[in-house]
Symmetry: C2
Subunit: 317 residues, 2 copies
């Protein structure tokens, strides 16, 4: 199971009742943060999930409303006594801009690793020392997380993210016995390691049942709709998408500012055959997003609107 | 009259009920901001004084809790349609750090002028195009504002600020007539301009009564107490001072972290013979600052404790 908190659900500028875009994922006692607008740490404090265990930060793009909360948050994490490094993934240009933001921090007791990404797919393992990243292998059911990126269409380089949390195949005592696998190496095979034991080669499939579906969560903001999005988000259990503007009548503004309306987000959800759509990143002009929810629901029924500190859990099926 | 709003009154990190250090002064329809921690623009929105007319920003020092709200605020001011430049005054190092913070802003429709200061005294005039700065002349009663700085004792270069709002001398028709000053130039002389008219030299004292006391407001944070502070803040109408820690028992922490306790702030107020002390910049550990107010009041009776969006007006006497 993965828990997801919408730390902030606004775009452009922070409002007293709506902080800026930020999403916190909690899985296996570790946390992944996606975007971090100004004030995110205040909303996180209200959320009471703690900051200290954030190992990985994903940045969609380098506009202030998605990153200006980073230096303050890292400073507060530093004050909480963290020493393990934190890894930040973001688009091209992240190193310069984020290092610029961090100039005002007197001292951080941990290393900040900034990695610039294009379109890619990475396997992530949570380790004692933070995270291990490597190029993803198709069908890797043994890493903690796979992160894929898609280039979006905004006024600056912007990445969409899709997170896949694999579910390990079930262990089969029957198969292990059938294949005459010694008990001493069951655990290692179950964890996906091939190995040679007393001169004989063993592989995980000798003790495991077939693959099981994991959890796919996709996050798309800020962008215009793109033909590449539906296949990128396909079959997501949860599709988190920007809906900066509510009404179809605001389409012109959406086009001008390189954002989406609720119905454009819903159309992507429908084409991507996702399970559920959560719309977020509302314009400050959108005082009551729920006034516009029908624009989305008439296209994609299973739509809900995010609000600050809304919590959602997604389980393996 | 000058109006002062305590936008945020916390130190170190922003809390849900207490934003970080930031002070807004409103005078003659123009605004001066002193420090700008993360989230300041949210508190300013609740304050409802508007952002657009901030012409001048004074930065005490370059720690995150005093400056991380700057890029978001400037971005929001940009969205409000301001085109006039904004001037930022701060200690040595301000240009590099603030430019670093501004890297994430896509575009600002106004120029940001950053000026690094040591110990100095500047006269400020609000102009159509923002502000004019020049070296202060003693007894200049015709500028809009005089700003003096003092080097403080913190873990980084830090400036205290003292603002003096001069009060123009009264115009005297009697004196003007006595000195045979032509009516055509009364206005210009009243505004402090010396001039030659029809071959005769005139100076302001020929139409003005004696000097009148202006308003002095001093702002001291973050620092240990210094012998130089009492004379710098002397006779302030309002002395705004940090009191990171409430109880005398926290003196050791105050010394270690280069801050002050309430009673240290009060002692400075007493030695500086100020009219009124307002303590601000409370540690996140100080849940209820008013529990500790007696530590200050037993030394300096006219002490009050700031809270977010507290508004105070100071008038000419």
């Amino acid at each position: 199971m993965i828990d997801i908190a919408f730390v902030g659900t606004g775009g452009n500028m922070p409002m007293p009742h709506r902080f800026l875009s930020s999403l916190l994922l909690s899985y296996k006692g570790r946390k992944v943060l996606i975007d971090c607008g100004e004030g995110s740490q205040i909303s996180m404090r209200l959320l009471k999930w703690g900051f200290k265990s954030i190992d990985l930060v994903l940045i969609s793009h380098l506009h202030g409303d998605h990153i200006l909360g980073l230096p303050g948050l890292l400073s507060t994490i530093g004050n909480s006594g963290r020493h393990k490094p934190i890894t930040i993934l973001g688009p091209e240009g992240s190193i310069e801009v984020i290092k610029g933001l961090l100039l005002s921090l007197k001292y951080l007791p941990f290393h900040v690793e900034i990695v610039e990404l294009g379109e890619t797919s990475l396997s992530v393992d949570f380790t004692k020392e933070g995270v291990d990243l490597r190029e993803a292998k198709a069908g890797d059911d043994f890493c903690d997380l796979t992160i894929s990126t898609l280039e979006l269409d905004h006024s600056t380089t912007c990445l969409g993210y899709s997170l896949y949390i694999p579910r390990k195949p079930k262990f089969s005592v029957e198969k292990a016995n059938q294949n005459k696998v010694p008990k001493e190496i069951w655990k290692r095979l179950q964890n996906g390691k091939e190995l040679v034991y007393e001169g004989v080669s063993y592989e995980p499939s000798m003790v495991l049942e077939g693959r099981r579906r994991g959890i796919k969560i996709s996050y798309i903001t800020d962008t215009r709709p793109l033909d590449s999005i539906p296949s990128f988000i396909e079959y997501s259990d949860l599709f988190i998408c920007e809906g900066t503007y509510g009404a179809d009548e605001d389409l012109e503004k959406a086009i001008k500012n390189k954002h989406m309306t609720f119905s454009e987000a819903a159309r992507l959800a429908q084409e991507g055959k996702v399970e559920e759509l959560i719309i977020t990143h509302f314009s400050p002009s959108l005082e009551e997003p729920s006034d516009y929810i029908d624009y989305a629901r008439k296209i994609f029924k299973n739509t809900i609107l995010a609000y600050d500190r809304m919590v959602k859990s997604v389980s393996f099926k």
